[in-house]
Structure formats: structure tokens, C-alpha cells
């Protein structure tokens, strides 16, 4: 069902990107005003590559993912610009019927809370089997057999006995495995995982991340991992895009970013991770509050919280400066930020 491609080495440096988000703009029109949730986000993911999108609540990371899937609530949401290219085709220009075929087959998605994301009144096996029945026209019996295979594959114990159980009869980790089984059923090329481990306890988190990494190795799919948890990212990601106030403020290969962040926000995030060697000292926290999307600060959205703030930050929006081939930072003073932390 899922073939292991021989050229899959797990590295992120394949030819063309599978999925490219290009200068995406999304806003929400609410009674209180226009909330600019996504302001010119650009990122891409290739086969076998893992992109981690990092950011706090309201940074636009989930909205971007929902726009890729086409599950954004419109209205109040509205896409005001940009392209989302999958294998070179702009998804935003596709008619709904063709767009639908991309979902599940080409790109699929798993969500944070598997209990509410699974339909409470249908057995889990039925919900997985539905993928084969609707997309592939498989018979009920065949689809059920494949559902059991998939449940085995995501390591649900006694899959055959549990195929007719309902979501509420599973534990949180098992439910997330069912979500994953459903998402990888048709062997998609890109998997978007929106905070897949946030609702789980720490040991289960690690198991789920391991499972995702293993499935990715086997099928060579591109993985977009949306999270606010820096710890989750470090082991699995190839590259990271850090979002703040609906923009990407830094993107970098994972090791470069951890070793030497080029944006004050990233730096603040890294410093606020608890560390064993600093035990007993007060934990660092970024001062201030995340920006209000209805009333964004002028200039750089991060300037009210930024220790590197200068006059120009309050007036000019910093572009995403290219630092090197694969690195970028949307900070006027990225050189100072880099220097300050260079070994």
C-alpha cells in the first residue's frame, strides 16, 4: 500500500518543492474590525522534508495550514492574496471539485484534539475505511480490511478487535494514532500536523512524534509540523519557520536556528526553554503580550517587546533579509542579534 521509495534518504534537499506557499495574505472580517491573520507568508516543503512552523497562538500558523487544506471558515476568513502551489498548480485557483481530490490524496492533515476531530457517532474503522470507499471506490469489506492494516501500522494493539469501537473508547494517544492512520490512508505526498501532540502527555508525545517520523521515512512524504513547542521540533525538523503576528520572522535549517538565532523573537523563545544547568534561576520570559491582530503595532510587530528596538523599528516593517542561502530574518538588526550570540 505504501511503498518505500528507494531514493528516500530522509534528507531535506530534494529537487523541486512539493508544496509552496507564496506571499499568502489572509484576514478575518469581524464586527470589531479586520484582523490580519496572515501577512505575506512564504514557505515550502519538499518530499521527505520536515518543515516546522513555530509560533504562539494567534501567530497565523494554523490559519496558514487551514488555508492550504481549504478548510478555512469563509466568511469571516478571506484570502486577500498569494498562491498555494501543490506540484506547481495553484490550489486557490482550482475549482472546488478538483481541490477536493487533492485533500486526502495529495495533502492531508491531522489536528490537535483527536477526540473532537473524530466523528463521535461512527466507529473508528468506518472513519478510516471511508477514505478508501469514497476516494478509491473500494467495497466495504476491502476498505475495512485496509483500515485494520492501517491501525496495525500506526501500532494500535488488537486492531482487528477494536476496528468497530468508537472514538470515546480510546485513550488520547490511541485516538491521535487513529487520526494519523486516517490521514496517511491514501499515501499523501504532504502531511500537515497541526499541534499533533499538544493535547497529549509527554511520554505519549514522544511516541506520536516517533511514529510520524517513521511514517515519513517510509513514505517519503513532506511533513509540515505546526507547533509552539520548541522541544518537539528539535529532533524531527529539517528546517524551521518562526511566525510572529502573521509573518515569518525567521527561517533557517534547524541546527543553525538553535545554535545561533537571527531574530530577537526566536532568541527569546530559545532562552525561555527551561535548562538543567540554570536550575534554581528564574526562567526567562519574553516581556509583553502577543500583538492584537485587530490593532497591530506600527513597523515591526515585535518592536514593543524587543530588546534590540531602535527608532526605525517603530516605523519600518523589516523585510525578510537573506542571511545565507537557506536563512532569513525579518529584523533590521539581524547582524547584531547574530553577533550577540555567536560563540
Amino acid at each position: 500500500m505504501i511503498e518505500v521509495l528507494p531514493e528516500s534518504a530522509g534528507s531535506g534537499t530534494h529537487g523541486g518543492a512539493l508544496l509552496e506557499v507564496d506571499d499568502l495574505h489572509v484576514e478575518f472580517r469581524t464586527r470589531a474590525g479586520v484582523a490580519k491573520a496572515v501577512n505575506g507568508v512564504t514557505y515550502s516543503v519538499s518530499a521527505g522534508e520536515t518543515l516546522a512552523v513555530l509560533g504562539e497562538s494567534g501567530s497565523g500558523k494554523s490559519v496558514t495550514a487551514q488555508t492550504i487544506m481549504g478548510i478555512l471558515d469563509m466568511p469571516p476568513g478571506k484570502i486577500t492574496g498569494g498562491e498555494i502551489r501543490f506540484r506547481g498548480t495553484d490550489l486557490l485557483k482550482l475549482p472546488e471539485d478538483e481541490r477536493r481530490k487533492v485533500r486526502g490524496e495529495g495533502i492531508s492533515m491531522i489536528f490537535q484534539d483527536a477526540l473532537s476531530a473524530l466523528n463521535p457517532v461512527f466507529p473508528v474503522g468506518w472513519q478510516i475505511a471511508e477514505m478508501f470507499r469514497i476516494h478509491r471506490g473500494a467495497s466495504r469489506a476491502d476498505a475495512k480490511k485496509k483500515a485494520i492494516e492501517l491501525m496495525d501500522r500506526v501500532r494500535i494493539p488488537a486492531a482487528k478487535e477494536r476496528v468497530s469501537d468508537y472514538p470515546h473508547q480510546f485513550s488520547g494517544g490511541m485516538r491521535q494514532r487513529i487520526m494519523i492512520a486516517m490521514a496517511i490512508a491514501l499515501d499523501p505526498e504532504v502531511l500537515i500536523a497541526d499541534e499533533p501532540t499538544t493535547a497529549l502527555d509527554v511520554t505519549v508525545q514522544a511516541q506520536i512524534m516517533e511514529l510520524l517520523a517513521e511514517l515519513q521515512r517510509d513514505s517519503n512524504m513532506g511533513l509540515i509540523l505546526i507547533t509552539h513547542d520548541l522541544g518537539v521540533v528539535a529532533d524531527v525538523a529539517d528546517k524551521i519557520a518562526v511566525m510572529y503576528g502573521g509573518r515569518i520572522v525567521e527561517n533557517a535549517p534547524v541546527h543553525d536556528l538553535y545554535r545561533n538565532p537571527a531574530h530577537p523573537y526566536t532568541k527569546g523563545l530559545l532562552e525561555s526553554i527551561p535548562r538543567v544547568d540554570l536550575k534554581g534561576q528564574e526562567l526567562y520570559a519574553i516581556k509583553g503580550m502577543p500583538p492584537n491582530l485587530l490593532d497591530m503595532p506600527s513597523g515591526c510587530a515585535f518592536h514593543p517587546r524587543c530588546p534590540y528596538r531602535q527608532e526605525t523599528c517603530t516605523t519600518d516593517v523589516p523585510p525578510l533579509h537573506t542571511i545565507s542561502g537557506t536563512r532569513g530574518s525579518a529584523c533590521h538588526f539581524w547582524r547584531e542579534v547574530l553577533d550577540g550570540d555567536a560563540q
Binding site: 485533500r103 490524496e105 489536528f111 476531530a117 466523528n119 463521535p120 457517532v121 461512527f122 470515546h168
Partner: protein
């Protein structure tokens, strides 16, 4: 679930005993002698009254009377009414008509109510939604007897599309408008319940999941959304079968339908308690069984409900 159903059925026994005792007790306590006025212009002779009292056991203590009622009920012998006509045969004539009327009303409630609710929930704020919201509000604010008389007058007398009254045969065609009248209140409630539940579930996570699985819009709405949204509406329809029965009394009165409602209506007017007691007891039984059915159905519709 089997054991749960048996337990619930056993629980029906004390409830039935209690309610039938109360019904028996209360009807015989009503003021007025049921036999005193049965002799036209003249007062009834004492000999007639005491003979009737003896025949129907009114001279015996309450508990003995109730015991006789239970014994007769269990042996299937409902006796005769005050006019010496078999009660069982009157019930046998009337029940099928009321059941037909009731089933038609439930079907109308379910089909039109749910369809209207789904439509208005999906097109929330649109033209159809407004039309449905206003017309259900209209239905909700009119009591059944007003709706009944208006439709009878409009369709039966003015436009002459239907017969204003229903014949003894009470065919499905003839019962259509009475059934609609009987259904009108619950129909409006069902539509509103379904609408709310569709609006609520439409933005739910599992609907979003179904879309991201690449399901067609028809399947997302018709399978994933609908199955969850129907639960409150179906529970409501089930519990309201009992109130449908009391609505049937009014509706059958308006359209001169010779069903249980009509029978009960005349019997109450004539103080003929030999009819009132068994009919009222039967209505209680229908109500109890409908409630049990709903509880069991709820478990089938929503797997999160478990019985043990």
C-alpha cells in the same frame, strides 16, 4: 442493552398500577351522578340507578372496584359501557384510526420538520432561513384548535379542496390535513431544534476533518453532519408522541374523526367512565412505551450513551 430494556419494562408495572389507580379513583370522585340524568326529561327511578350501580360495581369500596378493573383488564374483558355496548369493540373501531392519524402526524413532523431545519441551518441568515423561521414562529404561536379551524374553514369550506369532516372510513387522503394540523406544533419545534443543531455542528471539528479527508460536500452534510444533528430532533419527536395523543383529542373533535380522541371526548361529556378509564390507561401506556423507545433509540443513535 437487552437487560436494560427488560429492567425498564419491569419498571413500567408499578407506574402503570399507580396511574391506573389514580385514574380510577379520580373519575369516580367527579361530582354528578352518571346515572341520574339518563332518563330524558324525567328523573331516573331509584330502582334503575341502584341496578346500574350494582352492575358497574359502584356500590363497592374503591379498592374492590380497582381490583375488578385490573382483573377484567388482564382477562381482556373490558365489559360494556353505560349504553350496554361492548367497550372492547368501540376501542377496536377507534384505535386504528387514531394510530393512522398519529403515525401520519409523526411522519409529517419528521420529514418536513427535519428537512426545513436542515435547509435553514445550512443557509443560515439567507432567504429560506428567514421564511422558515417566520413560518415556524407562526405555527408555534397558534394553538392546535385555531390552526385546525382555520384550515378546515379555508380548505374545506371556502376553497372546497377537502371535505371539512372526515368520513367513517378515515382514509389516508382524508386524514392528511388533520394530521398536518396535529403535527404543526411539533413540526415547528423539530425544525427549530434541527436548525440549531445543524448550525452548532457545522463548525465542529469532525466536520472540518471530513472536509479535509476530501469527502464531497453532499457526504459531509448528509452523513457526518446530519447523523449528529438528528439526535436532538429524534429524541424530541419520540417524547412528544404522548402529547400528540392529547392533541389528537382536539383534532379529532374538529374534523369529526371517530378515533380514540373522539371517543374519549364524548365519553367525558356523558360521564361514561367505563370508556374514560380504559382509554386514559391506554394513553398512559402509549406514553410510557414511547418514552422507553426514545431512551433505547438514543443509545442506538449516540454510541457514547451506554446502558448497563
Amino acid at each position: 442493552m437487552g437487560r436494560y430494556a427488560i429492567r425498564r419494562l419491569l419498571q413500567l408495572i408499578p407506574v402503570l398500577l399507580g396511574t391506573t389507580f389514580l385514574i380510577n379513583y379520580m373519575v369516580w370522585q367527579l361530582p354528578g351522578d352518571p346515572f341520574a340524568a339518563r332518563c330524558g326529561q324525567r328523573a331516573c327511578p331509584d330502582s334503575y340507578i341502584s341496578a346500574m350501580r350494582a352492575q358497574f360495581g359502584l356500590d363497592q369500596p374503591m379498592l374492590v372496584q380497582y381490583w375488578h378493573f385490573l382483573k377484567n383488564l388482564l382477562s381482556g374483558d373490558l365489559g360494556v359501557n353505560f349504553n350496554q355496548v361492548s367497550v372492547a369493540s368501540q376501542l377496536a373501531d377507534a384505535w386504528p384510526i387514531t394510530i393512522r392519524l398519529g403515525l401520519m402526524a409523526v411522519a409529517i413532523e419528521a420529514i418536513i420538520g427535519i428537512a426545513a431545519g436542515v435547509l435553514s441551518g445550512l443557509k443560515r441568515g439567507g432567504f429560506i432561513d428567514n421564511v422558515i423561521t417566520i413560518s415556524t414562529l407562526f405555527m408555534l404561536s397558534l394553538p392546535i384548535f385555531v390552526t385546525g379551524f382555520i384550515l378546515q374553514w379555508l380548505l374545506g369550506v371556502q376553497l372546497q379542496w377537502i371535505n371539512p369532516t372526515v368520513s367513517d372510513a378515515a382514509t389516508v387522503g382524508e386524514l392528511l390535513i388533520p394530521a398536518f394540523v396535529l403535527a404543526s406544533l411539533n413540526l415547528a419545534f423539530t425544525a427549530r431544534l434541527t436548525r440549531t443543531s445543524i448550525v452548532e455542528n457545522r463548525r465542529s471539528d469532525y466536520v472540518r476533518t471530513a472536509i479535509s479527508k476530501g469527502m464531497t460536500n453532499r457526504r459531509v452534510v448528509g452523513v457526518h453532519l446530519l447523523r449528529n444533528s438528528l439526535i436532538p430532533a429524534l429524541t424530541f419527536l419520540g417524547t412528544e408522541i404522548g402529547s400528540l395523543m392529547s392533541g389528537a383529542i382536539v383534532t379529532e373533535g374538529i374534523f369529526n374523526i371517530h378515533g380514540i380522541g373522539g371517543l374519549l371526548f364524548t365519553a367525558i361529556n356523558n360521564h361514561d367512565f367505563t370508556i374514560v378509564v380504559p382509554v386514559a390507561s391506554l394513553l398512559v401506556l402509549v406514553y410510557l412505551l414511547a418514552n422507553l423507545l426514545v431512551d433505547l433509540l438514543y443509545g442506538v443513535l449516540d454510541p457514547r450513551i451506554r446502558y448497563e
